[in-house]
Symmetry: C2
Subunit: 429 residues, 2 copies
């Protein structure tokens, strides 16, 4: 498929996150043949992933088959494959186990994944939240901890099973802590006989001096107070120095926790290595103002795998709206090159920052106005339902949330894909 000469310009997009999807959308009607490559078959609405991890939504509520999104675009091919490198001289994307795919123009939207700051061995004890598999892994561990606590006779071990440590006080950490608190205090409170799930200990650990550093200090303080009202312990100003099977160490303090979730750091995809271009400490490519890769006007890189300054010098944040804007810009830049024009520089417009704390509180910073509280939560909910792709998913998510809001019940309290060797493993054979 890829080696056949095509009379039309071949645009290849690697990655079907917010940036890659928006780039393909932006090329609708252009005289190009597009191949979009992703190692998964689905586009994921990552901002709601924490709700899958905490049993509020089901994976298919927030994920869509990539080829379904482009079923009406015959010039778009979707290839489920893992990119392993780029041959810039021959203009080929190398794939694992498949023939390379040739491009005339390339858009790299390979995103980022979590980083353990050099402690990759912590991952087994403290899973992070980037993929659907991560979310169902965390969901299984959280729900299994309650099940094991119910069967446990040793009080110390029971306490450890009922302790959840979340590392990282950004939006993901805050949202996970709030959701686990509500799961324990509301959803599960009538379901157990030997433990009181309302006594669950949830510790949110942040190395910096406040939660949600992208917000103003007043909103950080609001988030801390709102979490504490939900019963979350917020531990600031001290980094985690160890994760193991018994919990975490924070400064001199050991927190005995059977469940640890990592929401602390991200590392860009290896795209900079593929291209042999310089990268910052987080592995991000420093791109030209038009988002092209230095020395490669035929290659654009967007989203969490690049580093670029917004007007005013602040870095463009690693959030979905920024990746979508960059994807739209990359499509325009490709069109400009096709027309023999010089692409305009990318100008990021910051629409606002949102984070939610449990089911009735949120903080929003639109720049021109800041909201903290119940109204912000309603705006957050409506905005997220609005941005979900497809009528059916909007309805399904809205229905799930309505159910949780009214009844404290959650759609997806399933423990599946048990890890080998864990208690609760299904019987062999």
């Amino acid at each position: 498929m890829s080696m056949v000469q095509s009379p039309r310009t071949r645009v290849v997009v690697i990655g079907a996150g917010f940036g890659g999807i928006e780039a393909v959308r932006g090329l609708a009607g252009a005289a190009v043949d597009i191949t979009i490559i992703d190692s998964r078959n689905h586009h994921l609405f990552q901002p709601l992933l924490y709700q899958v991890a905490t049993a509020s939504l089901t994976p298919s509520d927030i994920a869509w088959p990539i080829r379904f999104l482009f079923r009406g675009r015959p010039e778009v091919s979707v290839l489920m494959a893992t990119a392993t490198g780029i041959d810039t001289a021959r203009r080929l994307v190398m794939l694992k186990g498949l023939d390379p795919v040739a491009y005339d123009m390339l858009i790299i939207a390979t995103g980022a994944r979590h980083s353990y700051f050099g402690h990759d061995d912590w991952e087994q004890f403290a899973p992070a939240l980037k993929t659907l598999e991560d979310a169902t892994t965390i969901r299984r561990r959280v729900l299994t901890a309650f099940e094991q606590a119910e069967a446990e006779h040793d009080p110390a071990r029971q306490e450890m099973l009922l302790t959840f440590a979340i590392v990282g006080g950004g939006p993901t950490g805050v949202e996970l802590a709030g959701a686990i608190a509500e799961l324990a205090r509301d959803t599960l409170k009538r379901d157990f006989r030997h433990i009181d799930t309302r006594e669950t200990r949830i510790v949110l650990v942040e190395a910096g001096p406040r939660l949600l550093p992208a917000f103003v200090p007043e909103q950080s303080a609001f988030a801390k107070a709102a979490l504490e009202r939900l019963g979350v312990e917020v531990a600031l100003g001290e980094a985690v120095t160890l994760c193991d099977a018994n919990g975490i160490v924070r400064g001199d303090e050991r927190i005995a926790a059977a469940t640890v979730i990592w929401a602390a750091g991200v590392q860009a995809s290896p795209a900079a290595e593929w291209l042999g271009v310089p990268a910052d400490r987080a592995g991000r490519i420093t791109v030209e103002p038009d988002l092209s890769v230095p020395g490669h006007p035929e290659i654009f890189a967007i989203g969490d795998t690049v580093s670029i300054a917004a007007p005013g010098g602040k870095p463009v944040p690693g959030i979905a709206p920024a990746a979508k804007q960059a994807g739209r810009h990359a499509a325009k830049a490709v069109r400009a090159r096709l027309a023999g024009e010089t692409p305009a520089p990318f100008r990021y417009h910051h629409d606002g920052s949102l984070a939610t704390i449990g089911k009735r509180r949120a903080v929003i910073d639109f720049g021109w106005i800041r909201l903290s509280g119940a109204l912000a939560w309603w705006i957050w909910g409506i905005a997220h339902v609005f941005f979900l792709i497809g009528v059916r998913h909007r309805l399904a998510v809205a229905m799930s949330w309505l159910w949780i809001y009214l009844r404290n019940q959650r759609a997806s309290r399933l423990i599946t894909q048990t890890e080998p060797g864990e208690a609760g493993e299904p019987p062999p054979g």
Copy 2:
């Protein structure tokens, strides 16, 4: 928890399938403490499992946390644990990794799992459909086969990837074949660029002379014709003699298929071995007329792990309504023993047999009336939505089905939990 003396009679139920759940329900208000033990945290509506395997429903549409079902019953404890044996002398249920649980009366509802008739090595090539994990495994394999076919250059290999063999012509095999045919011909037809999914080959292999042997021959013939109209090849009268990585062998014929699904045989749980009582060839305990285990008036066994004759001498079928009736009977028998009375014999009442073929055809045999066709499909759909537990799940399932009916779209076309070494594996690290 278990070793503490309780003044109330302790009833232990092993297994939270249809039989176990109904037994606990039937004991509502009785002066007993109940512990229900299951290796999963959820009760599963197995009759719709094939719809999860074929991307129509999502796992949480058809599964409920067991403890959620009994949250209003303080005398019911739910224990997520794997039973490994029964000490009938000391009246203890042995558990993997946990202390034994003591009982005064025991209800065994451990069900059955698939059987490969002595060829357990076939399982890796031909997964069967009993658990949610089985369903998501089959869903992943079916959807990945289409993805791999799209990327494949070798026509023979592509044909093999687009061939699906289903072994076993009972309701599960018929339902899977019809659903995969509609997935290929309707849902996916506009989504691929290099393959025509309408040319997918689906072969349903049955060793016996007709499909759906529990129905009358006219309905078997109707099902065969309806499947053939959907493009399914029905191959009768010859058993499968080999399953391997390249497909199956049926008599002298090799069918090259990348995806094989096993819907052929079941084997009872090892409960007969635990008790040291005689079992039939499928491992089922032959119980007394009141469903008690011979020699153990304090132990009842119900559902797919037992063999019992219905009035007229035919065996009670391994279907959900039969398990539920037996569960209700076991609860009554326990109440009778508590009152010092002799339990009545179990009388199975057969309400009917149902099987569906794709999204517009079904066969129903109520005994007094037989229906084949579109009306039967509507009755099937309404009956299944009605029997689903909980308003929310009924709505969610009804909405998913409406969507498929009107738009041919499916909620759950997600490929997750990729098997190591398979193409499409997520990038490591």
